[in-house]
Symmetry: C2
Subunit: 768 residues, 2 copies
């Protein structure tokens, strides 16, 4: 048919298909060495800095439309109940109340993969949705919530996973409380029992990690507007296409009838990866009342209803020879996924951090009467790494080996689950450079708890492995204007991490033009080619190659055009800073502006796509973090003095943004290690920590000195760019490193997070 | 370099370059026959109909931003003056006035190709810009205008072109009043003098046409907003990229730093083809005051300062043999371009409508002290066709030949200026079908003016030729969602003619999916690939082929993917309504949704481009219009009873929208023929018709019965779509047909437009 794909036809038929967009005649050329790069890797300030600093940045929360109504949700105050009756009469009579929707006056819309409906008569947690009010303002809407009369049938509840798995526990579903189908998820490798027999030492320990809440700065919110049969949604989301497609499915309309827009966002951390029920409710109300609707959830709702990191009970077993060889790794794990199905597992670090032939895992994903869990920055890996790297520390101590030596002894040269090589793995270098930076040898040269006085210091470390992502399809359109300035468009989103800036850097690098001459547009499902959800450290790793591809296509067109205009074959041309020269005669040249103009084009445009994942190799990022802590044995308070984060994350795109990300991840990790916890009163089934006073998040005063070391250069075959992603790595090993440092300082091993003063003091003084 | 253009490199080097985007391996396949088409050609209602009917459509005039200031322009009340002094003190003291800019406090910015500055001390027409006020609202801004004190040096003025060309006339420029360089534009073909000698009859006549004003429904307006160094402009414009590039040049910033947006517009007719001074003023003010600025010009300003159709004096000479053969055509023409350079010519109909070997043209483009002319729906052709088709009518009468016979006798089989063939020319068919529809033979079977009573009827006709456009680059991106719905993006604009709808139809035709599943986004310079300005009947003709190309690329990708998934070679596959079947086994099939999903894509995306113009052929549209009129010789009033418009415009994309366009063009042509005129008092140099009370536009009561006949099918090599454009054709021959009908009815030949009752009566009763 059309010329542009004609070549691919035979390829596709003859070869095994991988990606339709991706039928490369040859691989994209790799980037130059880091030192030769002019834009990529540099610490360029955010190109959206002005918007943020000046306050002109429009976040979804700021999106105000004319004649807009405001919506608020009535949520169940009980952990488990059924609705007998809802009476909205009194609420509707309040002046300024426009409409109220409930299960009684809306169609049933499946939600959470059929676990429930947008409005369900079965309420499974404190915070479950009952009604949604549209009013002239939020105050009236909130008042109306109190006037909706609901008659409940109170059901017995269970808010603790270890209770929920018991036979006589209240059940949330017909299928029980263990997902799926009452059975644990299992994994076996080698012969675990034999591995234990081969061990000289067997260490068994129990660990517990707490629920934590994402609590991003910007609360979840949507503003929705129908125009005829077209719905526009401004959403505070990590995935505009995910929201569009879910809402389209819920409302049973085609995807082209919904536009989802997100320009700026105050964080998500995984809590905003899917469409919210609130968005659908706003859409339903807006349709009924014929007005735009803004809906926000408040901090209390955020702490109840829109996600958390699942807790965990982990019973770990390590078999080890006296020479340090791991012979067996075992794990039995229970994690609470809340009232609806979601992954609560954390087995991956144990399965893939070290070489060990014999592994056995049993994971129970348990439904309880609390808000549903959701992915939270390095889901599973954070819980798993804390426990596993704690027990590894203990194993090393038990055989009298330095923890780093022990890890090197069991260094995995190939990925253990599939026995395939990694694209790159520079973890050894992380150990080396991290240890040097924290001054490991001299500081660790003492027994745990040694030293005088009540204030003890110690160092500890932990490793991390994360999915070196960049797998999913990502597309980016690059447009070159006649004046040589450039637009980059992609349907990904900047959730605060700097996506606008890094995409500009990639285009700048290829076309050799200043970042100021590049405008990046993100976050509109109508206008932009698909970009993946911003999660799993996958934005940079998947979208930068697409921009690279698009920019290279533009450059190739320019070279091709210049070749014709100058009458010089392409291999005799050289491209430098927006000018194409003949190698033989530097006076024979065309600027990119001239090429566009003289080929009678108004713009050049190309859409690039991320290549398919390389097959037969494993993509992971790696890192080691080193913590130095000070523990006051009189107060039990832990102060983190320094974190050294040494990582192999592939290519650094922007050093400044990378440090931002690592600082954020480390501080969030400190919150996880020392402060944060969702506390539930199991008797009433109610959450006690629903505001930022009771729920303790770290502040700048809790932030230690942080040193970020990137050991990788970027020559990774993951893509031509070679970026593995930096969102998750920093948080993963932080709690483990701190726990190990606390042990090194005090001789006290805390197995239950967070490491609060009471737990330290209890152990030091042998209380409880 | 990159795969997608690798094939083109050799082509470009080896072949003469035409367009960089366009290096087709083969031509795009032509569309099917009209009868087989499912979407193209059908009278599908506007897909933006809901927006328009419900009132939710946001026009630029409706664009309100938070904290917005309102700007108004102080304009010169004199036709010619210099500014001695401006004092803004009193105006600035008015409460609510925020800022005032003038030549004294702004940098000089070149405008009108260096003819003047945004603020110039030399004021060349009533309406020339002096100052711009930003205030809290428009009322305050208007009050402030009256308080700005300007001391003028009044200069002598000239507001009539025939006076302006005299030696002692006041001069607007150093170079005089005749552009360029005091010389007329000349054209010669063959031997004009010899042609006259060969003639049996020589007819010489003088014609005058008036100035008319575009007067679209929506006045010119912009809302501008700076965010740091980035400027967003919502503009009521026919060319978002033209505005962006002009403002970027004026402000000396790169094009990527300006976003121009236009969603809906209330018409332009050529008056909104360029950036307005007002837009630049708003941008300057917004920068100074740090607030968004909305600027509108009112109806008076529109009638003074933002364009008009130039007037004309045309002395025409026709040499003709008694058998009807044209031997010579001569034209001396004067047209007033107003105070700044712009084309005022109208020679093309005379040069290209008929076969004539000997042609001589002299055109004077004259500067006078009035607002500048601008292209106005079929610029030049409207003035030229009225005069030329009037004299052709007289020539036919002189030798006693039917006007249609006479035109057929001189039918041009090839384009006369370059002697190259047309892509298609079906003008004969227009004559035939048009004549039948108006019942020419029976109605024309009388002498001019024959018949009893004061109310006379008559029929007349005229032909048209217009640039069969579609030359300029145009691009469109097509995105296919996983659910099979589609987005079409193009940086063209819908100025009210239905662009949204016709682009959806083209994508629907190729992909065989309903129009409802296609969303079209237009009018954003950041988000969309370049589309041409909406003028010259070129939107449909240039953008539909780009959409066609993009959709074909998507279809080819789908076929290619299905081929691989089904294991069936492409030539054994058939595409039908979104499903791809094996020809041999109808059960072997994949829906387009399956192909996208199973090739691991999230979307398919392709940017199409309009092909380069075919070389060695001429692209024109043709048509003939037939008017039946009734003239009351007691009142002098002309009533148009019926217009038959028979045209060769290539492919019809949407029959309903086509009729809209033709009705609009014909009614506008009636305004030109009978009603509209900008009247100037030459003594004071002031315009007397600056509102819609004094400036008479046709209303629905002036609309006749209209019959639109399209003789063309669309098998034109102009592009795979074959659309020649329909914006201009209908207006071009309307005045000529009416004038000829008036003559046929009354025996009175009106040579000066508009044909007002006074002119009829003056001739009938031999007055004046």
């Amino acid at each position: 048919m059309s010329r542009k794909v004609i070549k691919s036809v035979t390829n596709l038929y003859d070869k095994k298909i991988e990606r339709l967009a991706e039928v490369p005649d040859e691989k994209l050329p790799p980037l130059k060495n880091n030192k030769e790069l002019k834009y990529i890797g540099r610490g360029i300030s955010r190109i959206d800095g002005y918007d943020k600093v000046s306050g002109t940045a429009v976040f979804t929360f700021d999106k105000i439309l004319k004649n807009m109504a405001h919506a608020r949700i009535l949520r169940c105050p009980h952990p488990h109940a059924k609705i007998r009756k809802i009476d909205i009469t009194k609420a509707m009579n309040i002046k300024g109340v426009i409409d109220i929707i409930t299960k009684d006056n809306t169609e049933k819309i499946d939600w959470y993969d059929g676990d429930t409906f947008i409005f369900d008569e079965h309420l499974r947690y404190q915070g479950d949705e009952i009604a949604c009010v549209a009013a002239e303002n939020e105050v009236i809407a909130s008042m109306a919530l109190k006037k909706i009369e609901v008659e409940y049938e109170i059901l017995s509840h269970v808010t603790d996973k270890m209770t929920a798995v018991k036979e006589d526990a209240p059940k949330l579903y017909d299928w029980g409380n263990i997902s799926p189908d009452a059975n644990p998820a299992k994994y076996n490798r080698g012969d675990y029992e034999q591995g234990l027999k081969n061990a000289d030492q067997i260490i068994e320990e129990e660990y517990n990690t707490q629920f934590v809440i994402h609590n991003p700065t910007e609360v979840h919110c949507s503003t929705v507007d129908w125009n005829g049969d077209h719905l526009t949604i401004w959403d505070s989301t990590q995935g505009i296409f995910a929201v569009r497609n879910s809402v389209a499915a819920a409302l049973k309309i085609p995807q082209n009838k919904i536009t989802v827009i997100k320009k700026y966002m105050g964080g998500g951390f995984g809590a905003k990866l899917e469409a919210g029920k609130y968005t659908v409710m706003a859409a339903l109300l807006a349709k009924r009342i014929g007005r735009p609707v803004r809906i926000t959830i408040d901090r209390k709702e955020m702490n109840l209803a829109v996600g958390n990191r699942p807790d965990s009970y982990q019973r770990l077993t390590v078999g080890v020879k006296n020479d340090g060889t791991l012979t067996a790794l075992g794990m039995t794990m229970y994690g609470a996924m809340g009232a609806h199905r979601d992954g609560a597992g954390c087995q991956w670090p144990l399965r893939s951090l070290y070489k060990c032939p014999n592994v056995k895992v049993e994971e129970y994903h348990v439904a309880i009467n609390t808000g549903r869990s959701r992915p939270f920055r390095a889901p599973g890996h954070v819980q798993g790494t804390f426990a596993f790297e704690s027990i590894i520390d203990m194993a090393a101590e038990k055989i009298g080996m330095d923890p780093i030596e022990f890890r090197l002894k069991n260094y995995a040269e190939v990925e253990a689950n599939w026995e395939i090589p990694w694209t790159t793995k520079l973890l050894k270098e992380c150990y080396k450079q991290g240890a040097e930076a924290i001054n490991w040898k001299s500081k660790r040269n003492k027994k745990a708890g040694e030293g005088k006085g009540p204030v003890k210091r110690g160092v500890g470390m932990a490793s991390q492995i994360w999915w070196g992502t960049g797998g999913p399809p990502a597309y980016a359109t690059v447009k070159l204007n006649r004046d040589g300035s450039v637009h980059v468009l992609s349907g990904t989103q900047d959730i605060g991490c700097g996506t606008y800036t890094i995409l500009a850097q990639v285009a700048a690098e290829v076309l050799e033009i200043p970042v100021e001459r590049i405008t990046v547009s993100l976050g509109n499902t109508d206008e932009h080619p698909y970009g993946p959800s911003s999660g799993g450290s996958m934005t940079a790793s998947s979208v930068t190659p697409a921009v690279y591809d698009g920019a290279l296509q533009i450059k190739a067109k320019l070279m091709s055009g210049a070749s014709a205009l100058l009458g010089v074959r392409e291999d005799n041309l050289v491209y430098s800073q927006g000018v194409i020269y003949s190698k033989d005669d530097k006076n024979k040249k065309k600027s990119i502006q001239e090429v566009v103009r003289e080929t009678h084009e108004q713009i050049l445009v190309a859409t690039g796509a991320r290549n398919a994942r390389p097959q037969g190799v494993m993509l992971n990022s790696f890192g080691a973090q080193f913590a130095e802590v000070e523990v006051n044995l009189e107060t039990g308070k832990v102060k983190v003095l320094k974190i050294v984060a040494a990582h192999d994350i592939g290519r650094t795109i922007n050093r400044k943004l990378l440090e931002n990300q690592f600082h954020g991840g480390i501080i969030q990790g400190i919150g996880y290690a020392l402060l944060e916890e969702r506390v539930i009163d199991h008797y009433t089934g109610k959450v006690l920590t629903t505001n930022l006073h009771n729920y303790k998040m770290p502040t700048i005063k809790d932030a230690p000195e942080i040193e970020v070391i990137i050991v990788s250069e970027g020559d990774d075959q993951i893509s031509a760019i070679g970026a593995k992603g930096i969102g998750e790595p920093a948080i993963i090993p932080t709690a483990g490193a701190i726990a190990n440092a606390v042990y090194n300082a005090t001789g006290v091993r805390i197995r239950t997070l967070p490491i609060t003063p009471d737990k330290i003091l209890n152990q030091v003084y042998n209380i409880g």
